[in-house]
């Protein structure tokens, strides 16, 4: 299925990646090529096949629901581009 410019714009928006209007045609073209390659999957008879959800059949382990970590605020904030008063700082979210 070919991706048109509107779809490319929508996908970029959903992915939260800014793409300039002038770059959308080239992006749509590249995405169409990749998705065209995937069309081959339609040749496969998948009737009655369950989608694979785990690589190795095993039950995920459980652990006791207890606190195992904490009190490392400084470490958590250390790599933040903007941290103030013990919080991550971001542009205003609520008007």
């Amino acid at each position: 299925m070919a991706i048109d410019i509107d779809t490319a714009r929508k996908v970029a928006k959903l992915a939260r990646i800014r793409v300039e209007e002038s770059d959308l045609p080239a992006l749509a073209d590249k995405l169409s090529g990749i998705l065209g390659f995937m069309e081959q999957l339609n040749e496969v008879d998948v009737a009655g096949v369950e989608p694979m959800t785990s690589v190795t059949p095993m039950r995920l382990k459980r652990r006791a629901d207890v606190v195992t970590d904490g009190n490392i605020q400084a470490q958590i904030l250390k790599n933040a581009p903007d941290a103030r008063e013990g919080f991550f700082a971001v542009p205003k979210v609520v008007e």
Binding site: A15, F37, L41, V46, M52, S54, N79, P81, F88, P91
Partner: protein, 494 residues
Amino acid sequence: MTANTWTIAAARDALRKGEISAVDLTMSCLTAIDAGDGLNAFVFKTPEIALDQARAADARLSSGDAPAMCGIPLGIKDLFCTKGVPSQAASNILKGFRPEYESTVTAQLFGAGAVMLGKLNMDEFAMGSSNETSCYGNVVNPWRREGSNVPLTPGGSSGGSAAAVAADLCLAATGTDTGGSIRQPAAFTGIVGIKPTYGRVSRWGVVAFASSLDQAGPMTKTVRDAAIMLQAMSGHDPKDSTSADLPVPDFEAALTGDIRGKVIGIPREYRMDGMPAAIEALWAKGIEMMKDAGAVVRDISLPHTKYALPAYYVIAPAEASSNLARYDGVRYGHRARLAAGDGITEMYEKTRAEGFGPEVQRRIMVGTYVLSAGFYDAYYNRARKVRALIKRDFETVFADGVDAILTPATPSAAFGLGEMADADPVQMYLNDVFTVTVNLAGLPGVAVPVGLDAQGLPLGLQLIGRPWEEGALLNCAHVVESRADFVAKADKWW
């Protein structure tokens, strides 16, 4: 021969006998690294850490408490988080990130006494097959075509690891493999690389690309070294819920060289149209080696092979689009400079546009598309069903008595840097055609160097094993290695 050219096994024995110190061994690698800047393999050097670790290793060696990896100098792929040391997955979006924690794999290696020489270049977020998507620039393959100085790709995504090991800048390196990222660069540079069974090695602290496919493994000069280093990397980790709680056998002890009576499958679907004659001949040579060693060679069919690449290029971007959502400019890494009035959405969009390179952006958007409402069933669910069929293909041949499967590792030898610049992204994806099935099925696979093509470039074969049987797989690889007797090295130009 200076010590940086040694194998892990030779260095281990020399260290234990006191014939060399870990400090001297480390120094010889640090010297080689400084002389190897033209390869662009090491992107962050850690000589102080290396010498501290080497001194500690010497103390351990002299006290007699020395595991196999004690004092062995390694390069670490930039995808592994290393405490206090830049770890940015070759991406501008993680510029300046210094983790406050250590990945399980590196913690285990350092706990066993291994020495970290520095961080190794790679494709951005491990997305690429030529090491041309890195924010640090291309890695250059130490190998060149005979009589030519055209720079070649070392492969990807573990291209820095492959080049560093092939050029003897380190004794071995860590790699990661989501669709072939250990095995393809190993084949392009004439070294050994194994992707273990999914769950054998902890993924904790390794920057995630596609979580159901990612697996770390060693990249080494010999099969024996791969066995020794894999042993140290493996084991159950409560911090990775997909890590298998299984005992880790002694992989080195499995290298008996005896594969008499083992059944080696040759999948007819891997005989691609237009396959270069050199690859065809190499494969035939491998089959002869197996017969010569007393194995039973059997033609097999893996009927869904053709659909592995398209399935992979739905599943991997889908998982990547989710994993990479965390890079939002809030908690770590790059944040874009904002204009007056920009809100949080503009911050996300500008940060991610500036921080991610074109291939990563493309894969995130492909993943976003195949997971979006209306397309989820048509693409993502269909790909997961095809994945189940690919896995079933392997289960069927293993149930029929096949012990291992022999295939080419790559469809060609290393190509020129920039040669694929104008090609469709799909052309680059074809590099993974022989390796990607193994990730989809979660199996172990190893690339072994076998010969040189007409232009003097290394070519490798791949062996695929049964789940959790890395020892038996490495034993088959050991048989190929000893019969191929691949001793060629790249002529030093760097």
